[in-house]
């Protein structure tokens, strides 16, 4: 009943193709966004903003970037963190060296640099696929942070290679407070998520899925493989670059290249496996899981009396549980948490009928 479609007819193709066809979806999303933009900055405290909400949003964006490439276009990448690093350092340098460049323009330029690099490392995908592509993305993962450490210019000759956040100001509004950084991150993530949903609903998105499902067949029906794959790399690189810049500027404040190592790439990959490959919503669910789960685990361990579990052991246990979850998700629910939401939604739409 809650989800009843009765009376909602699409009378134009445009209405049928819109992003959220059901009135309930639009209403729910509108309420959620209103809550996130208007209510959360009022009621949240600094711990929630800095330790949970901002990393959650940034990781969602990174997951989104990888999901466009891996979940939609089927090109496996283990180099997400490298492109995040590229975006962060490029945005930092643009904002540092160009006087009066607006923050958002700096972020976009950082994303563009990451996109260009991503295309460069995606070029081998025209000839190779599958596992072999891992090597190309791993080359990015090792080469880019090495260059960022090696050449002092990138970090403005900081002795330890660390970059700091530029003044966080948009249209004269100072957003340096935790709540301000949260709103800035939220705004960018929501805008890019909408853009992503539009992209995957467009011809390009359908081409990506055709290439993912079988690229030889896609080529046979006339999809330009090179253009499709490289666009996937470019757009994914842009999203990852912006995510990296946000990670540096709004979440950590200062960051060094080692903050973007292989572990971070795996973290982003786990977000999309757990959240759901080929889904926009899944990135948010997966990122929420990745951010909240360690907190939950350490709180649970705190309940065990007498310090039976020491912190080092906790890390090992967390690692084992993560690994096990990956395997379980791949076996039981390859489409991740997003699929569970779809099941739930389908159930509610039919309610009270069973099918």
């Amino acid at each position: 009943m809650l989800y009843s479609e009765t009376g909602q007819f699409s009378t134009h193709y445009a209405a049928d193709r819109r992003l959220f066809r059901l009135r309930q979806d639009r209403l729910g999303l509108g309420l959620l966004l209103a809550f996130a933009f208007a209510a959360v900055p009022q009621i949240g405290n600094d711990y929630w903003f800095s330790a949970i909400l901002i990393p959650f949003l940034v990781l969602s964006l990174a997951g989104l970037g990888l999901n466009l490439l891996t979940g939609y276009a089927g090109q496996l990448s283990l180099g997400s963190a490298a492109f995040m690093a590229a975006g962060a350092f490029a945005a930092y340098n643009f904002l540092l060296r160009i006087e009066g460049l607006p923050l958002l323009a700096g972020l976009a330029l950082g994303g563009l640099v990451a996109a260009l690099l991503s295309v460069a490392f995606g070029l081998p995908s025209l000839r190779i696929k599958g596992f072999y592509l891992i090597v190309s993305t791993l080359a990015a993962q090792f080469l880019l942070p090495w260059a960022l450490v090696k050449f002092g210019w990138f970090s403005n000759y900081n002795a330890s290679g660390v970059i700091g956040a530029p003044p966080l100001e948009v249209c004269g509004l100072d957003l340096a407070s935790p709540a301000g950084r949260y709103v800035l991150t939220l705004g960018i993530v929501v805008a890019l998520a909408f853009l992503a949903r539009n992209i995957v609903h467009s011809e390009l998105g359908r081409n990506w899925m055709a290439v993912r499902d079988m690229d030889t067949a896609a080529a046979v029906i006339g999809i330009p493989l090179a253009k499709t794959k490289l666009l996937a790399f470019a757009i994914s690189g842009f999203y990852l670059g912006v995510a990296g810049a946000l990670w540096a500027f709004t979440y950590l404040g200062t960051v060094e290249p080692h903050g973007f190592d292989l572990t971070r790439s795996f973290q982003v990959l786990f977000i999309i496996i757990i959240g759901g490959m080929g889904s926009i919503l899944g990135n948010f669910l997966g990122a929420a899981f990745i951010v909240l789960f360690p907190l939950l685990l350490s709180n649970l361990a705190g309940l065990v009396p007498g310090g039976l579990i020491d912190p080092g052991q906790l890390e090992n246990i967390q690692k084992m549980i993560f690994g096990a979850l990956i395997v379980v998700f791949l076996i039981r629910e390859p489409e991740g948490l997003a699929r569970l939401w779809q099941h739930f939604r389908a159930r509610v739409r039919r309610w009270p009928l069973r099918y």
Partner: protein, 293 residues
């Protein structure tokens, strides 16, 4: 010139160590089509188990056998809990499952035996021997000898035994192999157990070199370019790939490194592998895949 030769030989011998890791990959890839990212974690697990048993006073051979039995158990568990439920799924899914497996194995190894660095002494000293003016490490020679023995044993296993015959049959055509009554699950357990043995030997050699610690599981990253250069499906390719990567990496570090500011060892193999891929997408000895729609 002598210096060049020394660097070259040092690189070749280091390459043998990479090949050892790569062989473990190739075995599993051939028999089950799984790109096993957990090979590095298995190396860590085997070496840690062996060293910890040794530190508790268990004699060498008993510790070796107990570790081997543990690796067999691991192979059984992997087949039952990971491979069997994921049968017929895409190779990428299987790869990601082994990523999860790597996390489980690393976590388990460190939860069981602790995270500190263990020394491992195999009784072979790492002293340079003098060959007509060329200095070559005795340990490297030993490692090369071990690798050669391993390859010999594996090729005998593959070519002369019944289980080897079924392994090759499964690698060639899984469906046909099943049709003539080869039990897939057994072959998988066998090949994962053999990969466990390779992991143990790799772990001992690398562990004696670097100390048994977490970074052992990162040797997997060294093996990847080796596989690309040599091809995923050939043991011989793994050896040749290892030699090429080892030698070129050391030569590049010595001769090209200073131009770029040093520390290029970490990414050079990957760039090399990428160049190889652009020319030969299936590696030097790999089988060319033909796509059918």
């Amino acid at each position: 010139m002598d210096f060049f030769l020394e660097v070259l030989i040092g690189g070749l011998l280091a390459g043998v160590m990479y090949s050892l890791v790569a062989i473990g990959f190739v075995l599993i890839y051939k028999a089950s089509g799984v790109f096993n990212f957990a090979q590095g974690a298995m190396v860590l697990f085997a070496a840690l188990t062996f060293v910890s048993l040794g530190e508790r006073g268990v004699p060498f051979w008993i510790a070796f056998l107990v570790t081997l039995a543990t690796m067999l158990l691991l192979a059984l568990a992997v087949e039952r809990l990971v491979l069997r439920p994921l049968v017929n799924r895409s190779p990428i899914t299987l790869f990601m499952a082994t990523l999860g497996l790597a996390y489980i194995t690393e976590g388990a190894a460190q939860a069981l035996w602790g995270a500190q660095v263990h020394g491992l002494d195999l009784g072979i000293e790492d002293v340079p021997l003098d060959f007509g003016g060329l200095l070559i490490s005795q340990f490297d020679l030993f490692a090369a000898g071990m690798a050669a023995t391993l390859v010999l044993v594996l090729s005998l296993l593959f070519n002369k035994t019944r289980i080897g015959l079924s392994l090759r049959a499964v690698a060639d055509d899984t469906l046909a192999a099943q049709a003539i009554g080869i039990r897939l699950s057994r072959v998988w357990v066998a090949v994962w157990a053999v990969a466990g043995l390779v992991a143990l030997i790799t772990g001992l050699l690398w562990g004696a070199r670097l100390g048994v610690q977490f970074s052992l599981s990162l040797v997997v990253l060294k093996a990847l370019p080796v596989l690309i250069v040599g091809g995923f499906s050939s043991v011989g390719g793994a050896i040749v790939g290892g030699l090429i990567v080892g030698a070129s990496e050391k030569l590049a570090e010595i001769y090209a490194g200073p131009l770029l500011g040093g520390g290029i060892e970490n990414w050079f193999p990957y760039v090399l592998a990428m160049l190889f891929l652009l020319v030969r997408p299936a590696g030097l000895f790999g089988e060319r895949a033909i796509d059918r729609v």
